[in-house]
């Protein structure tokens, strides 16, 4: 016989102090003021409070990359970050990059190269692709960069390495690479 009480996460409801916080986010250029449960992730603040559901929840543990969006210009796994930590921050989501009628070049390249199937990882892939190109342009090295003193090349190897935090179970990797290279070369 054994007993089971999964974890202690629920106990904190008895802790003193406020359980919600007012948080001001600038999301896709618009100021949004939220009163959120302190436990709310940035991901859930976007999806549930702001109903910006383009940012996806694939694992909620920072393992799949589907929740990738931008905080002050840098990509983050928004499931690993609490909304209250972002008071005053600028958030850019997939919805902020483009619309079906006016797609960002990367969004259009993903369509042109069929860089997805089910589409669930796609917003995260596109945000990571955008960040990958910016990080390469900024000369930031990666695990596969051979010469740390030179600018890393816009090579398939560099792109694949930097995109590897974004899982695509449909296996569209080869097409995603084509899409990213296409945009990289156009720049």
């Amino acid at each position: 016989m054994n007993t089971h009480s999964d974890m202690q996460a629920g106990q904190d409801t008895a802790l003193p102090g406020p359980t919600t916080s007012k948080t001001r986010l600038v999301v896709n250029g618009t100021e949004r003021v939220l009163e959120v449960d302190n436990r709310t992730t940035l991901l859930d603040a976007l999806r549930e409070h702001l109903r910006l559901t383009g940012t996806k929840k694939g694992c909620d543990h920072g393992q799949c990359g589907a929740c990738t969006c931008f905080v002050n210009g840098q990509r983050v796994n928004s499931c690993l970050s609490l909304a209250v930590m972002h008071d005053g921050d600028e958030i850019t989501t997939i919805e902020g990059l483009g619309t079906p009628e006016d797609m960002d070049p990367l969004q259009a390249a993903f369509v042109a190269h069929d860089g997805f199937q089910c589409g669930y990882c796609t917003p995260g892939q596109i945000c990571s692709a955008k960040a990958t190109l910016e990080e390469l342009r900024a000369g930031i090295p990666s695990h596969v960069t051979k010469d740390l003193l030179a600018n890393p090349p816009l090579s398939p190897e560099e792109i694949k390495e930097r995109m590897s935090g974004n899982i695509c179970r449909c296996g569209a990797y080869a097409n995603i690479l084509e899409a990213v290279l296409d945009v990289a070369e156009a720049r």
Partner: protein
């Protein structure tokens, strides 16, 4: 429309849009984050509360008590339903094995045992953790497939197929091998975990906005589980974030959301937490496969035995790894047998290419070993054993071009330049190897309906409960309808996934594309007849539909002038006649792989991949290519990294998340090349096409495994082939 004889020349043989690389029609919505998946349907029901599941912490036994007092008192909690509140709900369908909810009996780890409904996700999750459960665990439960196999392997079973005298033929064969291969359990790991929004109305009707491959099955399963009239159930699933079989059937998210909504008197949404998916839902069973092959001196197979053992919950069906071995290669004698090891792991059920995906991991490695035993080129060995007839059934294949897959693949891959001595080719730190494998997967078809609605403005709306799980259904159905009606594809709108629409094949078993496009064609045929009637003809036979016009003799009428007073609605379904079963309708491929294996560490890197596929008419080369390269990626995972680690003491799939269950990532995947043979199969369906979604996975892992052997000289017969299985045998450096 009855499809009772092989298709003759028809409109699809002079296609204007079918077969073209039309971009995925749902692309702009998906790439901009506007396609709404199940958990994101904020707009469909007011006042959605949030449910959170609790899973059993034992694998087998009984629940003695559940203390929900603290959880009920937690902030925001609106309702709690526990499994002890009711008797076991009926198993949802004959294709399910485990109960999804109800009663005190635990059948597997993380079986759903409670749902907590609260105002927010955070509140529901926190309150769920306050539930205290007292269990009586059954210490006699079985969780170890290899141990079960050892106990049962020498007990004779009735073979499924016994053709000729295998034992004598094998004993007298000029060359023979007798090998055992192991595949570990695998998880679908689709990116979108199961999720459902459930709402009941005052008349007891329930609507489920969910993520499901088979809408009609889901609808019936909900009715059966809740013991209610099927007409009171609506299921809607327009966007599905991957399925691979994990969403063929309703799972506990549907049941918990509906129970929670009933208890709370308000709509409830519930998504499975990722760590819940692997143990709560289904997996591909592990297998142990003993394969014996005997040949004559020239390499003709005279004896083939494939005995497969897999795990299953009591009453389930496991993973039948032997199917392809009945049909794929010519064999004078055959012995096919399966054993089910009943144990108490989570439910084994279909995952992409159930059977063949695992079975070819064994068979194609065995073919490689046999070729080596013979001193034959493994491509040549397969060619020698090509057949136009299934040796098990004696039925002819409707169209089989496997030999072309092999020869054209070998040519394109540069097979003649391969490494021929295992472990002998070295480039810097890397041992280089090449491998080939064949692929076989049946291409069934099933009844599928659709409705087409010609609008006053000449546009057409297509409605069918078919799903698009990333497979391209939106796109190929639009192409089919545009082709059949002679219209611009931009004038065709496709609506999918709603049980209010005509019942389709759904997505599974690689039957979806063949069936659902034929169903759309059937509806278009009915519409063409009605259009003919409207312009004064009895039928559409002499009419031509092109460029948005219908032409009768010299008279051309724009479709916009056909229904100015209101839409014309036509509905039909395709039914596939029994003549189709007189032949073996199947798809084929050959996969060629080059790997590098680090000479010091044993790390395996796939360097290039080629797949040559024989799948009839390719309806859209873009979406079909994505299906196949995606299957190849999954095959790399199966070969090298994907393994559900079983805690054989507790019956838990212990690596139940995406960090520890290792699917391939960008860095793992090299250049992939795919060739579709230009073939047509008139027996398959009116469009002469076959499935590709599962074909793309079949055989891939075997090709990778054979390349690893070729690189290292180490034959690892237990998948996945991780470096620990290679290190001891690597060539001296």
């Amino acid at each position: 429309m009855d499809f009772n004889t092989a298709a003759e020349t028809n409109i699809f043989d002079r296609p204007k849009i079918l077969g073209k690389a039309v971009p995925r029609r749902d692309g702009p919505l998906k790439t901009t984050g506007r396609a709404p998946y199940a958990y994101e349907r904020h707009d469909v029901a007011e006042g959605q509360l949030v449910g959170y599941p609790l899973g059993s912490a034992i694998a087998k036994g009984r629940i003695l008590s559940m203390d929900t007092e603290a959880a009920r008192a937690a902030p925001g909690v609106r309702a709690i339903v526990t499994t002890l509140d009711m008797e076991a709900m009926p198993v949802p369908s004959e294709m399910h094995t485990a109960h999804l909810f109800g009663g005190d009996k635990v059948e597997h780890y993380h079986q759903a045992i409670a749902v907590v409904v609260a105002e927010t996700f955070e509140q529901a999750r926190a309150a769920t953790a306050l539930i205290k459960v007292e269990y009586d665990a059954d210490e006699g439960a079985e969780f170890d497939l290899l141990a079960a196999y050892e106990k049962m392997k020498d007990t004779p079973v009735d073979p499924e197929v016994s053709k000729g005298d295998f034992e004598t033929a094998f004993a007298n064969a000029a060359h023979r091998i007798d090998r055992t291969y192991v595949t570990t359990p695998q998880n679908h790991a689709q990116m979108e975990p199961q999720a459902t929004v459930a709402a009941w109305d005052e008349n007891g009707n329930v609507t489920l906005w969910t993520s499901n491959q088979m809408i009609q099955w889901a609808k019936k399963a909900v009715a059966k589980t809740f013991e209610m009239d099927v007409e009171k159930v609506r299921v809607d699933s327009p966007y599905v974030g991957g399925g691979f079989g994990n969403k063929l059937f309703i799972r506990s998210d549907v049941v918990l959301a509906a129970l929670g909504a009933k208890a709370a008197g308000q709509p409830v949404k519930l998504a499975m937490p990722r760590p819940f998916v692997m143990n709560n839902t289904t997996h591909r069973a592990g297998t142990v496969q003993r394969i014996r092959i005997g040949t004559d001196a020239q390499g003709k197979i005279v004896a083939l035995a494939h005995e497969g053992t897999s795990n299953t919950l009591p009453g389930g069906s496991g993973e039948d790894a032997t199917n392809q071995s009945q049909h794929f290669y010519a064999a004078d004698t055959l012995l096919i047998a399966t054993r089910l090891a009943e144990m108490h792991l989570p439910e084994a059920n279909a995952m992409r290419a159930p059977g063949e995906a695992s079975g070819l991991m064994g068979l194609e490695m065995a073919m490689d070993e046999m070729a080596e035993e013979l001193g034959m080129d493994p491509v040549q060995f397969r060619l020698v054993n090509d057949t136009d007839t299934s040796p098990a059934t004696g039925k002819k294949f409707s169209d089989r071009n496997f030999a072309r897959c092999l020869t054209e693949g070998a040519e394109r891959f540069g097979w003649e330049n391969r490494n021929t001595t295992p472990g002998s080719r070295r480039e810097g730190d890397w041992l280089i190897g090449h491998g080939v494998a064949g692929a076989f997967r049946p291409s069934p078809a099933t009844t599928s309906g659709a409705r087409v609605r010609l609008q006053a403005d000449g546009r057409i709306i297509v409605e069918t409960d078919m799903t698009d799980i990333g497979t391209g259904s939106y796109t190929i159905i639009a192409q089919t309808v545009a082709e059949a009606m002679g219209m611009d594809i931009e004038d065709v709108e496709v609506r999918l996934g709603d049980s209010a629409f005509p019942v389709s094949s759904g997505s599974g078993g690689q039957f979806g594309a063949v069936s659902s496009t034929a169903g759309a064609y059937a509806a278009c045929t009915a519409l063409r007849r009605e259009v003919a009637r409207r312009i004064g003809h009895n039928d559409a036979d002499g009419l031509s539909f092109a460029r948005g016009n219908v032409t009768a003799g010299a008279k051309e009428t724009p479709l916009v002038d056909i229904a100015p007073e209101g839409e014309i609605v036509a509905e039909d379904k395709v039914k596939f006649g029994s003549f189709r079963k007189d032949r073996m309708v199947a798809t084929f491929a050959a996969h060629f792989v080059e790997v590098g294996v680090n000479a010091w560490t044993g790390e395996v890197r796939v360097r290039r991949m080629l797949g040559v596929c024989d799948a009839g008419r390719i309806m859209n080369p873009t979406t079909a290519l994505s299906q196949v390269i995606g299957g190849m990626v999954m095959g790399v995972g199966a070969a090298l990294s994907e393994e559900i680690a079983v805690d054989t003491a507790k019956g838990v799939f212990i690596n139940h998340d995406l960090a520890n269950y290792e699917v391939p990532v960008h860095a793992d995947i090299p250049e992939q090349e795919v060739v579709f043979l230009d073939t047509l199969d008139p027996v398959s369906g009116p469009l002469k096409s076959k499935g590709v979604g599962e074909l793309g996975l079949c055989g891939v892992a075997g090709a990778v495994a054979n390349a690893v052997y070729n690189a290292t000289g180490v034959r690892a017969r237990e998948y996945p082939i991780t470096l620990d299985k290679l290190l001891d045998g690597l060539p001296e450096v």
